[in-house]
Symmetry: none
Subunit: 190 residues, 4 copies
Amino acid sequence: MRIKDDIKQEALFKATVKLVNEIGFVSSSVSKIANEANVSPATLYVYYKNKEDLLVSTYIDIKQKFSRAVLKNFGNNLPIRDILRNVWFSMFKYASRHPEYFKFTEQFANSPYNSLVNKEEVEKYFDPMINMMQKGIEQKIIKDVNVDLLMAFMFYPIMGLSNARSCKNFEINDDNIETAFTMAWDAIKL
Amino acid sequence: MRIKDDIKQEALFKATVKLVNEIGFVSSSVSKIANEANVSPATLYVYYKNKEDLLVSTYIDIKQKFSRAVLKNFGNNLPIRDILRNVWFSMFKYASRHPEYFKFTEQFANSPYNSLVNKEEVEKYFDPMINMMQKGIEQKIIKDVNVDLLMAFMFYPIMGLSNARSCKNFEINDDNIETAFTMAWDAIKL
Amino acid sequence: MRIKDDIKQEALFKATVKLVNEIGFVSSSVSKIANEANVSPATLYVYYKNKEDLLVSTYIDIKQKFSRAVLKNFGNNLPIRDILRNVWFSMFKYASRHPEYFKFTEQFANSPYNSLVNKEEVEKYFDPMINMMQKGIEQKIIKDVNVDLLMAFMFYPIMGLSNARSCKNFEINDDNIETAFTMAWDAIKL
Amino acid sequence: MRIKDDIKQEALFKATVKLVNEIGFVSSSVSKIANEANVSPATLYVYYKNKEDLLVSTYIDIKQKFSRAVLKNFGNNLPIRDILRNVWFSMFKYASRHPEYFKFTEQFANSPYNSLVNKEEVEKYFDPMINMMQKGIEQKIIKDVNVDLLMAFMFYPIMGLSNARSCKNFEINDDNIETAFTMAWDAIKL
DNA sequence: GATGAATGAGTGTTCATTCAT
DNA sequence: CATGAATGAACACTCATTCAT
């Protein structure tokens, strides 16, 4: 028998991300995706149970890649501000290196498919961040407010700024990221 | 000749928002929307050139309603911080009173339809905000950074916090909004 | 607006029966049926909810036509044997005039679709028959056995004999039908 | 060279019958059948030329099993009526012991596949029955009518009565079979 | 012999849009 | 203006079968 071909699965992943970026969620049909991956539509169903599975799997894949990249130099002993700064930089770097992942993620998160992913599984990747925030609160370094609030000021601005569509005048370079982080830190620090 | 029926147009607007909220962009077909509005699919084409026109118009409509609500008590002579605070509150209030508009907006903005709207037309509603920011910079009240940056810290956190999906533990009430605004202000103030 | 066209529905009915006869239930796809009826597959869905609805409706239609034809000269005052004989003749005549209805019916009844029809609705057409049988039992003309048994000997032989496939040597003419009825009557009479 | 595996063939036979019974002819795909038999779809093609071959072979298999069971105590010297009675009982017993064979047979016989089986080969199993009928005619015990007619009254009622679907009130037990046979005999006896 | 991967051709169904009234 | 009927094109998905191992 033939061996299941990782190349094909990878091609499908890439084709999915690419097409969703280019023509959007709505128009990204199974056959277009398969075509883009140089694979028969029927073959797609060897690797994924159905379209939903394809999209959800792709989303989770991206989230994993992202959290792995962002949190890799995390557990060290620097002061909280420096750790957050590192994370912030990693995120920006990753976002500007893989804007296509970001765009896919945004479309996915704003679609009904989003309700199909096991939130806890995805969110647990970010648990270290939350723990760090809590530690900061205890140490009276960070404002003692709802953690969701802290996260909102730490992450949502990044999403906005990384989105070329909505931020045309903001160039992503080290100086600007530094400035942006200062603002984020001002928002959450005590 | 009968006159185009505003009631029908309004029904179509509401049906579009409702359906996109309930079943998502992908599944919201013209005939379902027409059905929901108790109107024939053919009638929809009396009021809108095509599906794209329907969605784009609905989006612009929402953006207008929003900016009108937010900016209505804007041009007064309060200190900058108070004005921004008012705007911030208006936004939150509007967002929590019309979550369906927010959800529609998010789905739309993350779809290829978004590229079809005349950005300048939409953004001009927010020109007063930008002017205010610039005034704040001149007065050395607000950080002298790229305006996009200021806007990112003023608006994106709201989107995150208003989104019940991503912020389950953050209850929207006056105290919490006040706290959140303080953070936003800390981020941008000099 | 255009008027719904009874001719199209009739064409679909005929096309369904014809195709099921010619290529069988399994191969009779929606598009082939629509094609045969000179109608777009999409149009079929104007008249029927889905394939299941098409087949079930066609089946019920045939059953109705059949029972109407068979029972039309039923409620008269002839002796039971004569009434049954009339019915028997009507059935044979109908079956040989519309073999395509018979074949469709058989394929349908032996398919999983069969479980979707409301049996009671279909069977009520044959209630007069059952009542007659019961009257015959009371009058000591017909054997006092389970009605299902009586029906089995009254109807199943007809199905076999009407089926050109299984009965190649039995010519359907008045003499032969008479003979056959005599046998059926011998089976059930006391 | 390995030897074709009778166990696998048997498993495929059983899976075919089971699936056709459970989900019907239309939905019984090759891969589902292979799956049910715990065998790869490709393996199925080692044992059968194609799907048609699988179904036709299964049908012929069943017919053989059936005729073997029914005719096994046939060639003895009892009176015709007793022999027929034995056959009749055997049939009922077999039918109620193997309803899945019956259901498969009915679906198959009412499908276009049926035209693919060599009728003479199948029918020859029932030649002894036909010979017996002819002997009965010569001996003036059985009505001198077309043999197809005699067979229709001998067999079709059994099919109806064995079909749980169409005969809900007829319980299959020795007394009832006896009664039924009496009716069949009344139908054909002189 | 045995198999999972692979696929072109087809499935039933819905789509955005136009037509005829 | 208003509409249900009509449809070609596309949809997600499954099929029977073959391929490569």
